[in-house]
Structure formats: C-alpha cells, structure tokens
C-alpha cells in the first residue's frame, strides 16, 4: 500500500484564539482505504480537511499528498467536498459538468450522468432553484465523479434523505478503486460505519485514536457508533 496522505506535527492556531484548532496531528493514509474522521463539533475536523486542501496554511508542520504540498499538483488528484454549498447558482447541472470537465482531467462525465439520472436531478434547471437536499446531492455527485486518488468529503451525507444516503454510500463502494482512498468526516456514524476501513477520532484538535473499525468491534464488542458515544460522552 502506497502512502497517499501524510501530515507531520501539523498545528493550526487561528488568530485571536488561545487554543490551537489542531495540535500536533501526525497521520498517514495509504491507498485503498475508506477512513472516517470523527469527533464532536469544534474538534478540528474541518480545519484538518481545509489544510489538506490548501484552503488554510498550517501554523507549523506539514501536509503532503503523494509527496506534494497542497497546490495545483495535489488538487489535480484530490477531490474535495466542502462542508458548505459552493456551486454557482446561475448555472445548470449540465453546465456544471462542462465546467468540471474543463477543470479536472479526471472528471468522468458518464459517472456523473448516471448518478444524476438515478437521483433524478434536473440537468437543465438553474442550480439556485433546486431544493437544499438536491443541491447537496449535486455537489456530492460532482465530487464523486472525478477519478481522483484521494476523496476528501466534509459531512457528505448530512443533508440528504436516508434513501439517497444509501444510494450515495453504494455509489462510493461501487466506484471505489483500490489505488484511491476516501477520507470522510461525519456525525452520522451508524450510516457509514459498515463501509469504513479505519477511523480517526479527534478531540480538541488532537488525535485520540486511529484504528481499524473491525478491530474496535472485535475488541470492544460494540458498534463504532456506540463506542463513539462512550468515548465522547459529555
């Protein structure tokens, strides 16, 4: 298994904040893994994801994607789904596909069309007219339609209905390539726990635990969801 992502002693301190948002995060993600990034609100999940995608600069430490710092080279192989909606409202899904095809050499139009069809998303309507859930589905479809090496998904299924959630998870499984990996953050642990290989728990900007999910079931005799509730009990 080749190494896809490596962070070393990664620290991020926001201006005017006394506590670091991320504190000494060292982790690696090899190819062929689906990794869950779990932690309570404000634990640093989105900060870590933004650092991986070059939207924030580390205070110290480093992020490397296949040996490259976040930048044009890494962005060509990382497909990122942000935690907020950021598609152009005046465009249509059809135009969006053209846009993605122009920007990303790894965009697979056929994959996108299949998913748009299955989830019955209007291709010629302006995006801003779509419902909130449909917008989220569209954004996720675009992220999953790239043949990327690393998918970084920030809360990918939070706003969609359970049936679409199942479809999306099945899409993730069936499109999964052994040379790619997925890092996803979510609060909906029970929905995703059967598809995860590994899990990273973070709290107050620090890694609490990195483990295989099967190992947790074996050793704790409980589901990931139950274990999370126990570890992060308030």
């Amino acid at each position: 298994m080749a190494e896809l992502l490596r962070t070393e002693h990664l620290v991020k301190v926001y201006d005017n904040m006394s506590m670091p948002a991320l504190d000494d995060i060292t982790l690696t993600i090899p190819t062929g893994r689906i990794v869950g990034l779990l932690g309570p609100n404000g634990s640093g999940k989105t900060t870590l994801i933004k650092l991986i995608n070059g939207l924030l600069q580390p205070t110290s430490g480093s992020v490397l994607i296949e040996g490259n710092r976040p930048g044009p080279v890494s962005k060509a192989v990382v497909s990122y789904l942000p935690d907020r909606f950021c598609l152009p409202g005046d465009r249509t899904a059809e135009e969006l596909m053209q846009f993605y095809a122009d920007f990303y050499a790894d965009f697979d139009r056929e994959r996108a069309e299949t998913m748009l069809g299955s989830l019955q998303i209007e291709r010629t309507a302006r995006i801003k007219g779509l419902s909130k859930g449909t917008k989220e589905k569209l954004q996720l479809i675009m992220a999953m339609s790239r043949r990327a090496r690393l998918y970084v998904l920030d809360e990918p299924i939070a706003g969609v209905d359970p049936a679409a959630r199942d479809y999306i998870l099945k899409t993730i499984i069936s499109n999964y390539q052994p040379d790619a990996s997925i890092l996803l953050s979510t609060h909906l642990i029970s929905d995703v726990e059967n598809i995860l290989d590994d899990v990273i728990f973070i709290r107050n900007g620090r890694i609490l635990l990195c483990s295989s999910v099967e190992k947790i079931r074996e050793e704790q005799g409980k589901s990931l969801d139950a274990y999370f509730r126990e570890v992060f009990a308030c």
Partner: protein, 124 residues
C-alpha cells in the same frame, strides 16, 4: 441474498457466516460462480476490503476456490459442504440447548419436548 448485519460484531465474520450458510444450504450451488467482491460489497453495503477478507477466509476453509482468470467458484466437494452444514447446524443446536438449559430443561427433557411438539405438529 439478505445481508442483515449487526454493527457490534466484526462485519467480516458475519459476511463469512452468511456466505457459509448460503453454500451449506445450496442457495449458492456447488461449482457455481460467485459474484465479484465489489458486487457483493455493494449489495451488502459494506467495504470491499471487508468482503475480500470474508472471501479469503472461505477460501482458507476450502469452501470456495479462485481460478486466476475466471473468478471464484463454490467448491464441488460435497463432503466438504456437508461438513460445513453440520457445523452450522451444531452451532444452532448449541444455542438452542443453552437457552433451554436457562429455562431449566434437562437434556432428556429437551429431547422429549422437541419430539412431543413435533409429533403434535404432524398430527395437527
């Protein structure tokens, strides 16, 4: 195929049990071709690596075999399948016996109980 999985037990063991039962019962007939890891993983809604692990275990148990280019097949060894069936049945019996013991049944009472209930059923 129904994939009812509990999240509090290792998924690969459960997948293995389900596939083993399918083979033992003949739902997956001897010599038949198995679906691919990815297809079955998608059906079951599990990680392909986990399905792969269940396959590896079945292969180690000689219940399936891999042909390098053609794919994976259920064994044609009827004796091996019979053993698998026996093991699953034994495990069920053990569960039943435990439960009955909890209720206070002795060994002979269990046998008598099962026989009388089944004869009733046949008569009825």
């Amino acid at each position: 195929m129904s994939w009812k999985l509990d999240s509090d037990r290792p998924i690969h063991t459960q997948l293995q049990e389900i596939l083993q039962t399918q083979i033992a019962s003949g739902a997956l007939p001897p010599g038949s071709k198995m679906k691919s890891v990815r297809e079955l993983a998608t059906e079951a809604g599990v990680n392909p690596n986990t399905m792969q692990r269940a396959f590896a275990e079945l292969e180690r148990l000689n219940l399936i075999r891999t042909e390098r280019t053609a794919g994976r097949f259920v064994t044609e060894d009827a004796a091996r399948i019979a053993v698998a069936k026996d093991e699953i049945a034994m495990a069920q019996l053990e569960l039943f016996r435990k439960k009955m013991k909890q209720l206070g049944f002795e060994k002979k009472e269990i046998v008598d109980f099962v026989r009388s209930k089944w004869e009733e059923e046949e008569d009825g």
